[in-house]
């Protein structure tokens, strides 16, 4: 926070290669600080900088993934985009409309267009409501009258997500985890939203069920032209589902780009370390690849390191990393990175010589 990111204030529109009109959602300088209060007067003594200046766009029809470890601010970002939280700074423009500081009442009509899928299919469904009531709730809340009434509309939705429409009167506890997640998806789809923010949509599910739900989300995107923002910590799932990936570290986006570019030529050292840490299900290849081990833990967002936040754990860090915050700059087409000494730099790019960390063979 000592220096303002320069690229972001200059021309947020040109950065992704998408023009300002083409984006379904645009976040600029987005911030969320949670105050920590103390004493009788509840004086603010500090703030958790959960999200600290994000710039990105979401294009219609794409899947943008936010990845990072716990505490990087990805869930807070999702809640800001759906306006379940009030941003402390910055702007969110959805479909040409500034929704940054809309009141709950003003947001309500927009809830038809922005919906959320939650991680835990157990706590996100009311156990005392039938599936019919749960999936039909959006119609009632938004006072939308489907053509043939709510019940046929709900049954159609259940069929769409691969559930038996006759289960209309059952309760959530009668369903397995994967089926409950489908119920949540059906509810999300009820009003045909334009944007769906999915926060860890499959992380609570078993592998075989996870694959069913991933395929379902992909099919629905194709059929209904949905736009997804997927929040996930599982890099394998993200590689499978997304079109573009934003890697977050301590409330900042450190790398943002087309999926293949990020996965095959990651430029931020954090992304490189993150990718190398994922266990590969292939015992033969485990000896071949180079693994980078980050030491220590993620610093506290209460008091993040100055300038580049990754410098405390980065093997390439030099003096400039402690004093000047690197801007999120486009180094390859459609691929931005916030680093003074990127890995895999494109040809011609001047970078200081870093050294590799201790690598396991």
């Amino acid at each position: 926070m000592t220096t303002a990111p320069q690229a972001s204030s200059a021309a947020p529109g040109a950065q992704d290669g998408a023009d300002a009109e083409g984006a379904l959602l645009r976040a600029s300088e987005l911030r969320k600080h949670f105050p920590i209060r103390h004493g009788v007067f509840a004086r603010q003594i500090a703030a958790v900088k959960a999200v600290d200046g994000l710039d990105f766009t979401v294009r219609p029809g794409e899947t943008l993934a936010l990845v990072g470890e716990s505490g990087c601010g990805k869930t807070t970002t999702g809640r800001l985009l759906t306006r379940l939280l009030e941003p402390s700074g910055g702007r969110i423009v959805f479909d040409g409309r500034d929704i940054t500081h809309l009141s709950a009442g003003q947001m309500r009509p927009l809830r038809r267009e922005i919906q959320m899928i939650f991680q835990d299919p157990y706590s996100s469904l009311n156990p005392r409501h039938t599936v019919g009531a749960i999936v039909g709730a959006p119609f009632r809340l938004q006072k939308v009258k489907p053509e043939h009434g709510i019940k046929p509309a709900v049954q159609e939705l259940l069929e769409l997500v691969g559930l038996n429409p006759e289960h209309y009167n059952r309760y959530p506890h009668e369903f397995s985890g994967g089926q409950r997640q489908r119920i949540g998806v059906a509810r999300t789809l009820a009003l045909r939203p334009k944007l769906i923010v999915a926060d860890e949509p499959v992380s609570a599910l078993d592998v075989s069920i996870q694959a069913q739900v991933i395929n379902l989300l992909e099919d629905l995107q194709g059929e209904l032209g949905l736009t997804y923002v997927v929040i996930a910590h599982d890099l394998s799932v993200v590689r499978h589902m997304s079109d573009r990936v934003a890697v977050m570290y301590l409330g900042k986006i450190v790398e943002l780009g087309e999926k293949e570019s990020v996965y095959t030529t990651p430029m931020h050292p954090y992304t490189v370390a993150l990718l190398s840490a994922v266990p590969v299900p292939d015992p033969q290849r485990r000896h071949l690849r180079e693994q980078i081990r980050l030491s220590g833990d993620v610093p506290s967002p209460l008091n993040p390191p100055p300038a580049c936040r990754f410098h405390t754990r980065c093997w390439k860090a030099q003096e400039v990393c402690r004093t000047v915050e690197p801007p999120l700059a486009q180094l390859r087409p459609g691929h931005r990175v916030a680093c003074h000494f990127p890995e895999n730099p494109p040809p011609g790019q001047q970078t200081a010589e870093g050294f590799r960390p201790t690598a396991r063979s």
Partner: protein, 372 residues
């Protein structure tokens, strides 16, 4: 030892009696024979583990893989003797270094726990006592098995904490668990589990609650400590990537039974059980470009109260008709299809190999080029 066992209630039945009279203590370090763990409930008998057998030698790592409800955690709790004896029906044998754990008194099992066998749990926050310092808990574990003074035990605890990579162990030893981060707590629990150099270490989802960079550190740690102490390690996980990193042998479990057991390499290169194929096909892979569709296993895992008759996987198995009805009526035995590779499937070995090579491997692209 077939007649009366103290401490552990037994399951009656001819199959069990036949199993219990089987032979003398095995030469293997750990051998589980026909283990059955059933829980009576108001809705019926939950058959969490139903006839599981496997072996493990010192210095080897066995990965047990399966989805929720496959019985992998229940198996590990049975080995550790941690089931509440009032609510469980246990049968079979668990031989650890010449002793049948299921036949021992609770006192004897307690003496073995910690020294002979130790366990790392998934959630370190619930496995540690919040009101005692980390040091006190490691010291207690050490002093139970070693007649040493408090200060010697404390020195040992500090050494263990530094061994598992906790910075400034001499001061962190007096911290409470809540003052540690998730990864550090996991390390502290590993320090506690390893404080008495156990011969058998069971790690139940040791990294599931952790971030990927911390997971990598913990997996390295388990690997290094194992080679140092030459212990036998069982790693229980749902993540095929984690077992591929650590395990030499893999046991795939489904609905409380073993489905396939083989060297790790063969589980990934030439798997023979349709359920293993399903797991491999439904897993998104980091080392593959996205775009190709996942191949999920249809349906959901069965209820353990109403386990499907015959092969428990048959309602979800795409090749079930090829068994001509056998899969619906007979429980398949774990049979050796080649040395060291055992599969519980009614399909003939040649058919399985053909299906893998011609149908499944090409779909799980990248896999199977080296199928023999």
């Amino acid at each position: 030892m077939s007649t009366h066992r103290e401490g552990q209630p037994r399951l009656a039945g001819p199959a069990v009696d036949a199993a219990t009279v089987v032979g003398p203590p095995p030469s293997t370090f750990l051998e589980v024979r026909d283990l059955r763990v059933h829980f009576p409930t108001a809705d019926g008998m939950v058959k969490a583990v139903d006839g599981l057998s496997f072996r493990l030698e010192r210095g080897r790592t066995l990965g047990i893989v399966g989805e929720s409800g496959s019985g992998k955690s229940v198996t590990s709790l049975s080995i550790m003797g941690l089931h509440d004896s009032a609510n469980v029906r246990l049968a079979g044998e668990i031989w650890l270094d010449g002793e049948d754990l299921l036949g021992l008194t609770p006192e004897r099992v307690r003496a073995l726990r910690g020294k002979k066998m130790a366990m790392i749990f998934q959630d370190p926050l619930s496995a540690m006592h919040p009101l005692y310092t980390v040091g006190q808990q490691v010291i207690e574990a050490y002093r139970i098995h070693n007649d040493v003074s408090r200060s010697v035990a404390r020195k040992h605890a500090i050494e263990m904490l530094s061994r598992v990579g906790i910075p400034q162990p001499a001061s962190r030893v007096d911290d409470y668990p809540h003052q540690f981060s998730g990864g550090m707590r996991q390390r502290a629990m590993i320090a506690m589990a390893l404080s008495c150099d156990p011969d058998l270490l069971i790690a139940d989802e040791p990294t599931t609650a952790l971030d990927v960079t911390v997971q990598a550190q913990i997996l390295d740690l388990i690997r290094d400590l194992q080679s140092e102490f030459n212990s036998a390690v069982i790693i229980i996980t749902h993540d095929l990537g984690v077992v591929a990193e650590l395990a030499e042998d893999i046991l795939v479990m489904y609905a409380g039974r073993g489905a396939e057991y083989a060297a790790a390499e063969n589980i990934f290169r030439r798997p023979e059980h349709p359920y293993t194929w399903g797991l491999l096909g439904s897993m998104p892979r980091l080392d593959r470009a996205g775009g190709q569709r996942l191949i999920p296993i249809p349906g959901t895992p069965p209820s353990l109260i109403h386990v499907p008759p015959g092969c428990a996987f048959h309602p979800r198995c795409p090749y079930e008709e090829l068994t001509e009805g056998a899969a619906r009526t007979d429980v398949p035995q774990m049979l050796e299809s080649m040395p060291g590779h055992r599969v519980a499937c009614h399909l003939p070995t040649s058919t399985r190999r053909r299906i893998w090579q011609d149908e499944v491997a090409p779909r799980i692209a990248g896999e199977g080029q080296e199928v023999s």
